[in-house]
Symmetry: D2
Subunit: 285 residues, 4 copies
């Protein structure tokens, strides 16, 4: 994203004058609004907005602009987040043996689809090392057993903190993160679950789907919370299946879904399109 | 379907020589195979086949052909069903207040999409009467209350039996049929559930979907069994939803899915494409 | 749509301050913005916005509000259109022998999906009369031959003008409208073409698709312009096909697409979601 | 695919007794049919069948079986092709600068999705060398200019012939192959075109799509023939687009389609699912 573009994400109780106040403060500082998308949840009486604007015509400076936004934010009890295009976020990918999502994210990053720096790949298996190396990404092998889980999470946390990682992507990472670890990264860990949640929670969703005889399978990307497979859903996809599909066929078909659905969620996150509230998400498109 | 076309559906334990024996008996009587589709479930070790053939070149007669099939069937312990194209099956549609699936089936029938006779519409509300009348279909108003449920089902059964109905389609029929009623029509009652089963069983699936914040909604057609929402799935469909969709929007989007998914299931059934085993279906396409 | 809701559609050359000025004028009159969606085309350097707002909290009156918008509109050289929720637009459906789109629109209207009044059905065949009557919609039989085309269009125009129709929907209407007729209704005639335009323009697209052996078929709704099948595309849909599909099967599968794609376009139009520029459309969702 | 599985593909004029004769000859030699799929084109009066069978129970030997099939084939004027599961076909991938399809095929192959040996990657750019090397696949840099085209094609042909390559996959290969080269590999070169053919033939289909303002984009895999972009279509896919999508966005969305659609075609080819006739394909699923 160009350095002179900024994105503002806002959530607050709905009130009259919100749109005008935000537009006014941006205009007052000379920012040119490129995109604005807004959602009002009439049941929760909540207001959400995403604004993208050009800073190159700013008549004041960033500090003044931020002060202006802060003032409006305080007036309307807003939660807000301002991101500057030149600030490249750091991402850590957690992987296990399955490599399709890992490859997919690295290839998309290389093609310029993901505006971030892949700061590291962490895996509980050494197999992913050549893959990370091929893409020039640091690799850390952090094995996990029932006994070493706590230490492993501490090691991972240390690596992440040292690098300034802001987003963790679980690319079919087969370990369950502890509530303590998860609590450190609210709305900052994205997982891909290989089913159409809330159908087929838990282990072996493709086998569950096979046994149920469903005619479509799905994949779901979501933020990780302490409740397994229950975090706010970001993106979902489905594809047809039939009696001809063995469990292996479903696994193969599912890989395509998982890659696409996970990458879309990561992309939405990195482009500041997602707001979380009431256990679900607003994803501006 | 043309009168001279017949369809044979077969299910049996897998054994060598099945395909050859069936092809041979048809050829031996002069039938010309137009389509054949086969599936072997290697786990259940079961064999399934659907054969469509032309009888106009028959060198013997139907009785001889059926005897031939019966002999092969006995040899391989087959369950089989032979349908002649000229035999038009009778269908009863059960409806309540929601009319979109009812309209849809009647319009598709009129357009020639459903090879059957719509023998009657039965509804627990009188509202559907003008619709049935518009399409020239007999209408029966059979109100249902907690007290009269048994009598209402008996009345419905009598109407169905008298007319020789072979398939019951629940077109968003809002009453739960008793296990006794269901047991009378094995694999002969098709329901449409307004969710992507097994997600969101029970009441108000669109509200459940809204509260969960899913990014796709679905619909599922299935044979009705004594276990509510658990019968063998015939067809499913999904469509994208977003934070912008209210429950009413999901209901509206869902109507399109429900119509399409239910009609496809009815069509598959009428074209003898469906075999049920192990709580799921083979649907030849 | 509720009477106290208004929708403002705006198109103009892109300039700084547009969003703020519009938001400010609405806020200044006490209107509460419910939704706002914006698009900037950086190549054409054009700005587009759709604003939905609540008038029930208006501190002035509609005349003042409109004057305010007019003033801003003049300042930024805007084309703009303001629609009040209580004003129900009148729609004329043109049909021929094929009835699926006609039925579909009438059923959706009855279900409350289309915020309009279906003022009339005009057909060059009498067959649609019972359908219109069933839904309580006036029907006009206007036969068309090569010789009577001009007179027929004049008759249609008279009916439409007398009723105050603002949108004409060609529901598989099999006559080509003259450039003169089309010119009278810019961006106000919606057609459904039974292919994935620009593939398979002209007659018999399903036959063309069959002969080409495509693996998906499509449908396209578009505004009608003097260039046949070339008007701005509003909505498209596709569905899989295969070697098993005869032309008749494609026609059947296509009906579902046509209904859905046409209805979506009509809905988008009636909800003031569409802006036309440079031969294509912005459709706010 | 297991070594004891064979696949028989058959095409011939339709006649009575075809299915029985083929089933009989397989049964007579002790082969156990696992899958059979059949299609009759009533217009062309052509018969197509795909049979997969288990050879482990063969009571004669392969030579006898082939003789038996040959005899039936001659009787019915069949074109037929018999493939043994243990024979691993060799594939050459042609690539240029764009690497997404190349990566995709190599990753799928590594995951066991493509039953073949990737014998080599040939590219007119050196960039792909590290990619091929990462996957342990031989790489050949064969630059192409207008002047050297003939020599380059000769060099490529030599490499292919020496390695015994049976399938060439153009993974976004940006050179047009000469009719002479193409003629050497009938139904053995698979290309991916980045549009929903026959829409947007030729160069820059994403730009064409952008300018036309379509609401869906597509990708098409097809066998290469002397007529550019006109070969028999194997697989197609589509995805929604909108006014928000720049040409770059369409390119990005298209990459996902291209990967999936090309891989599916390659997979179908390698599993002997495709028959070509009358400029189009039968693809058994």
């Amino acid at each position: 994203m160009s350095a002179h573009i900024a994105t503002l994400l806002v959530a607050c109780p709905d009130r009259k004058g919100l749109v005008a106040s935000l537009a006014q403060v941006l205009y007052g500082h000379g920012a040119n609004i490129l995109d604005s998308d807004q959602h009002t949840d009439p049941i929760a009486s909540m207001f959400f907005q995403r604004l993208r604007f050009d800073l190159s015509s700013l008549t004041t400076d960033r500090v003044s602009l931020e002060n202006g936004i802060r003032e409006v934010g305080a007036r309307f009890a807003m939660e807000w987040r301002l991101s500057y295009g030149e600030r490249v976020r750091k991402v850590a990918i957690f992987a296990s043996k399955l490599e399709h999502c890992l490859y997919d994210l690295l290839i998309r990053h290389r093609a310029g689809e993901l505006a971030c720096e892949i700061a590291m790949v962490i895996s509980n298996h050494a197999d992913a090392e050549p893959i990370a190396r091929h893409f020039g990404v640091p690799f850390h092998h952090v094995p996990v057993t029932a006994e070493t889980k706590e230490a492993a999470e501490a090691a991972a946390h240390e690596l992440i903190a040292a690098a300034g990682v802001e987003l963790i992507v679980l690319a079919r990472y087969m370990q369950i993160l502890s509530p303590g670890f998860v609590a450190r990264y609210p709305a900052s860990i994205i997982n891909i679950h290989h089913s159409f949640l809330p159908a087929f929670v838990g282990a072996n969703p493709y086998r569950q789907a096979y046994e149920k005889g469903v005619k479509m399978i799905g994949a779901t990307s979501h933020y990780v919370t302490a409740d397994l497979d229950q975090g706010p859903i970001i993106e979902q996809g489905t594809v047809r299946s039939s009696h001809r599909d063995s469990v292996d066929d479903l696994v193969r078909k599912g890989r395509d879904l998982e890659k696409r659905v996970l990458a879309q969620a990561v992309r939405d996150h990195l482009e500041d399109r997602i707001l979380v509230y009431a256990g679900k998400t607003v994803v501006f498109d």
